[in-house]
């Protein structure tokens, strides 16, 4: 399945071409402008005293000594900030019945996780602010900490929110109605309980913010390392009572985000308040230890799943219970239940079966909050589904490729609606399966595996199909009442020199947003990419839009740029037609020149049209008003999401004496619709896969029984390093969405979605001769040895 040829496929099109990112040279020269680099005149520095207890009452705070330390400008507690900041609650209306306690920048009387910020100090340097923290005494009285999921669910057990009936944040159930019947008549049933460790984003630049409130202008400017400046403009405006037009959020270069930096953090809200209280710029950069106890975590899930099959290996039904623990609050404004919601809705997504039942229970506990992080819910849904499919294959004696080929929705059977209500426009599981089989050299790998087993070398081969959610419509947040836009806006201008400037609401985190937007604009207008300047990430300058999350930058932002540029081109050709006394339809623009549409003969440069329009409008026919700036918005319509799909494969080796796993090679066949820049797409896939491989083998936020994070440093929390990571082979199938002209879907999360599932299947495949199984990630050497009964 390849994209049908359109105007986007003409020779020399910028669409579909691998080009380096114009904005990357600055970063290579050490000329990035990250928020952590920023220093403003009269800027002060904030530091936070954090709770050492997981759950405790704040009996008293004595900050007298800190207040008088030389260089300290302000010591603020929860009560000080509560006077100027309204509370927030992390619920959405479409998650019926969900609850969460109101949150303030700093707590008034109770701490609910170890590491929660309790007191803020603002001083002339970060060092002085930290000195002052040591002079503050907080008296705590311990409350019972809720750490374990089972303890949290016990009736009459300790409560995260005293006075509430239970620790349940949200419950949801999906039921297609005939699941029990399907299981009762099934020839085969497989069943497993899965454990998924918490992990966290570990962006290399920690969270950074500089809030600058100017009381004379009544204006708040926030330099914020975030993906979503407009969302924060709205939130700072509403929670601090400043008119939206007087709040400016600037998101410059950012050292990684992966979804982590689009949530409201207590410290960030506090820093805005501290700047308001002081009337001076206040900077806060989390240090790495603080990041581990305050950045959102993700994916603490325990899933019990059953799958029913007929005698031939046809999947008949799945029945799932997902328990997930999210910390003491649901994160604002996107909540902490989206992950679980996507787990239960994505399970089984590649397959044809119709009988599905799932229960989701989202549980409070005294740990760091969880929320959206790259591939929200996907890795869990994928691991559960794909491991069940492999277990079924083993039980029936089918090959993993064969059982998938038998059960995936056929490529010619779309559109389809999943039992969980997702509407799939067009996916390509069959094509992807076939390609992966070839790319892996699957039969040779199996032969090699068999050969090596005879010599006591245990290799595993794993595959995992996936479906990814991209290009979200208002169905995602808007309908739930969150002021998070699903549309984007662009302002495209022809400059007096004949170049094009595009201000657009999607943002750049290094994935290449600005690069692909400039490719689209250059392509659609008809000029060289180096003459297109793209500007992002400043609410004062760029139009309001959703920005970058949930793989929407290329699909929605890209379509916005495409439509805006087409409108600008029409306007340019109108003026050109007047000057040249032609019909606009008889003209085109190629490489910055207006040409005859038919012959391609050059007529005049667009720079000349710009010169006339801006400086010699007197030479244009009377009544002509050249419109060389176009503003345009685009909101996705049609399908609520543009689903993508793909399949990953991996080959690895398990050392059955030490439990160590060596990744040998990783493969992915991916279908993100129209590919704008193949190199950037491939790099998104590789980076995403490696984050998934980290989750599979290394990454876990480990807690003690008392709710202390015990590995919260970069020496203790293991992220993947180059030595441990395999080379990754990539192939594409292109099934463009027909909902847009561009046809692009998202790709940023596809790698992470299935990498851990793939490894889980491969490790189990390697351990098959020992009748040992693994049902938990990360798959540590200890878990392998325990499964082998050697530890």
């Amino acid at each position: 399945m390849t994209a049908p040829l359109t105007s986007l496929d003409r020779p020399n099109s910028y669409i579909g071409r691998s080009l380096p990112r114009p904005n990357a040279k600055r970063l290579l020269a050490g000329r990035g402008r990250y928020v952590s680099d920023l220093r403003l005149p009269r800027m002060l520095y904030a530091a936070f005293l954090r709770s050492p207890r997981a759950h405790a009452t704040i009996v008293s705070i004595n900050a007298d000594e800190a207040r008088v330390l030389e260089g300290v400008h302000l010591v603020a507690t929860g009560a000080d900030l509560a006077k100027i900041c309204t509370a927030w609650t992390g619920t959405l209306d479409h998650f019926k019945g969900m609850t969460s306690a109101p949150q303030l920048p700093l707590p008034l009387d109770r701490v609910v996780w170890a590491g929660q910020a309790v007191v803020a100090v603002v001083a002339e340097s970060r060092a002085i602010a930290e000195d002052a923290l040591e002079l503050i005494e907080v008296d705590y009285e311990d409350l019972p900490a809720v750490v374990d999921i089972d303890v949290a669910r016990e009736a009459g057990g300790p409560q995260v929110n005293p006075g509430s009936a239970s620790n349940i944040c949200f419950r949801s159930q999906l039921d297609s109605g005939t699941v029990d019947d399907a299981f009762a008549h099934a020839a085969h049933v497989v069943e497993e309980e899965f454990f998924f460790g918490r992990h966290t984003a570990v962006t290399l630049e920690p969270r950074a913010i500089v809030a600058d409130y100017d009381p004379a202008a009544g204006m708040l400017t926030v330099h914020h390392g975030t993906q979503t400046p407009y969302q924060f403009q709205d939130l700072y405006s509403r929670h601090y009572g400043i008119p939206e037009a007087r709040v400016r959020v600037i998101a410059t270069d950012i050292g990684g985000s992966f979804g982590m930096k689009l949530h409201v953090y207590h410290e960030d809200m506090a820093v805005v308040g501290l700047s308001i209280l002081l009337g001076r710029p206040v900077k806060y950069v989390a240090d790495r230890i603080e990041s581990f106890v305050s950045d959102i975590h993700a994916r603490e899930h325990r899933v019990r799943a059953r799958m029913a099959l007929d005698t031939k290996g046809e999947i008949l039904a799945m029945d799932v219970l997902d328990l997930t623990a999210i910390g003491a609050f649901s994160t604002y404004p996107r909540t902490s239940v989206v992950e679980g919601n996507q787990v239960i809705r994505l399970i089984g997504a590649p397959y044809r079966f119709r009988n599905y039942r799932a229960t989701l229970e989202v549980i409070f506990q005294n740990k760091v909050q969880t929320s959206q992080y790259r591939a929200v819910g996907h890795p869990i849904a994928c691991a559960v589904t794909e491991r069940m499919v492999d277990m079924a294959a083993a039980k029936l004696g089918l090959d993993p490729f064969a059982i998938r080929a038998q059960n995936v929705i056929a490529d010619d059977a779309y559109p389809q609606t999943s039992p969980t209500g997702y509407r799939f426009e067009a996916l390509s599981h069959q094509a992807c399966l076939k390609r992966l089989h070839e790319m892996m050299g699957y039969d040779d790998l199996r032969a090699e595996q068999a050969e090596l087993r005879k010599r006591g070398v245990y290799r595993g081969i794993g595959i995992a199909t996936f479906v990814e959610i991209t290009n979200p419509s208002p169905a995602f947040y808007g309908v739930g009442g969150a002021r998070i836009s699903s549309q984007d806006g662009a302002i495209v201008s022809l400059t007096p020199s004949g170049e094009v400037r595009c201000l657009i609401s999607v943002t750049e985190q290094g994935q290449g947003t600005e690069a692909i937007i400039s490719q689209i604009v250059a392509d659609q207008l008809g000029l060289a990419q180096e003459h297109v300047k793209v500007i992002t990430g400043d609410t004062e300058v760029t139009p309001h839009g959703g920005a970058t999350w949930a793989c929407r930058g290329a699909g929605i932002g890209g379509e916005t740029a495409l439509q805006a540029t087409r409108a600008l081109k029409r306007n340019i050709l109108e003026i050109a037609a007047l000057i040249l006394q032609e019909q606009p339809s008889a003209l085109d623009i190629v490489d910055g020149e207006v040409v005859d549409a038919g012959t391609r003969n050059q007529r005049m440069p667009i720079a000349e049209i710009a010169r006339i329009a801006y400086f010699r409008s007197d030479t244009l026919p009377p009544g002509t008003q050249a419109q060389l700036t176009v503003s345009h918005h685009f909101a996705p319509q049609g399908y609520p999401f543009a689903f993508t799909n793909g399949i990953q494969g991996c080959s690895l080796e398990v050392d059955v004496d030490t439990g160590f796993i060596r990744l040998l090679k990783h493969f992915i066949v991916e279908d993100c619709g129209r590919v704008i820049n193949p190199m950037l797409v491939d790099e998104q896939l590789r980076g995403g896969i490696v984050q998934g491989l980290g989750a599979a083998l290394f990454e876990e936020c480990r807690y003690s029984d008392t709710g202390q994070l015990v590995n919260g440093s970069l020496a203790d929390y293991l992220v993947p390093m180059p030595m441990e990571m395999p080379d990754i082979l990539i192939t594409h199938v292109e099934t463009p969405t027909a909902d847009t002209e561009l046809g692009a879907k998202g790709v940023g999360e596809a790698g992470t979605a299935a990498a851990s599932a793939c490894v889980l299947n491969a490790v189990n495949d390697a351990l098959a001769p020992f009748a040992a199984t693994i049902n938990a990630i990360p798959i540590t050497p200890t878990k392998v040895l325990k499964a082998l009964k050697r530890f």
């Binding site: 290579l28 920690p206 994935q511 790099e683 980076g687 970069l714 030595m723």
Partner: protein
């Protein structure tokens, strides 16, 4: 200020004059004894191309050259570097010493957010100065003190590999 017999501030406030040759120029700074080299470079000297990722020598974002060797500037106090020759990403860029690495990283998109990149380049530069033709495995091994959360590392390995090969062809000429 009154009412303090002694405060930790008094101690912390004492500064020491240190002199370095940074990116080929002599500079002098007044630093507190507790100030790390990276804070001095980024703060007093405004060389913000060197980054702080973990402050414990694990991630490699803060690598600079001290007397020609790659050093974690977060693990060294500024006073310890007194008298040293320090080269940061800014200096290595201006001198052209790593221009081929930078061009190859750019061509292959061996960076995304760019936060790890200066440290990655300093380490790659050191590797290639010590080993003319490292294998891919040796490159991966050498980079194991440089975390990158965006790229998955492969393009970085490819870029360094390509530069090593191009340099050795150049040498052979």
């Amino acid at each position: 200020m009154s009412g303090f017999e002694e405060t930790i501030l008094d101690e912390a406030d004492e500064t020491v004059r240190v002199r370095f040759v940074v990116n080929g120029r002599k500079v002098a700074c007044e630093v507190a004894p507790r100030e790390t080299l990276v804070d001095c470079l980024r703060g007093e000297l405004e060389l913000t191309g060197t980054h702080v990722g973990c402050e414990m020598g694990a991630c490699g974002a803060c690598l600079v050259q001290v007397d020609g060797r790659a050093v974690h500037s977060c693990l060294m106090f500024a006073v310890q570097a007194d008298g040293a020759r320090i080269d940061t990403i800014e200096g290595l860029t201006e001198s052209g010493a790593i221009a081929d690495l930078q061009a190859e990283f750019h061509r292959r998109n061996a960076l995304q957010c760019g936060f790890c990149t200066p440290g990655m380049l300093v380490n790659a530069h050191e590797l290639l100065s010590q080993m003319a033709q490292p294998s891919r495995e040796a490159i991966r091994d050498a980079l194991s003190g440089n975390y990158c959360r965006c790229t998955g590392y492969e393009a970085i390995v490819d870029a360094i590999d390509a530069v090593a090969k191009a340099r050795s062809v150049g040498d052979a000429r």
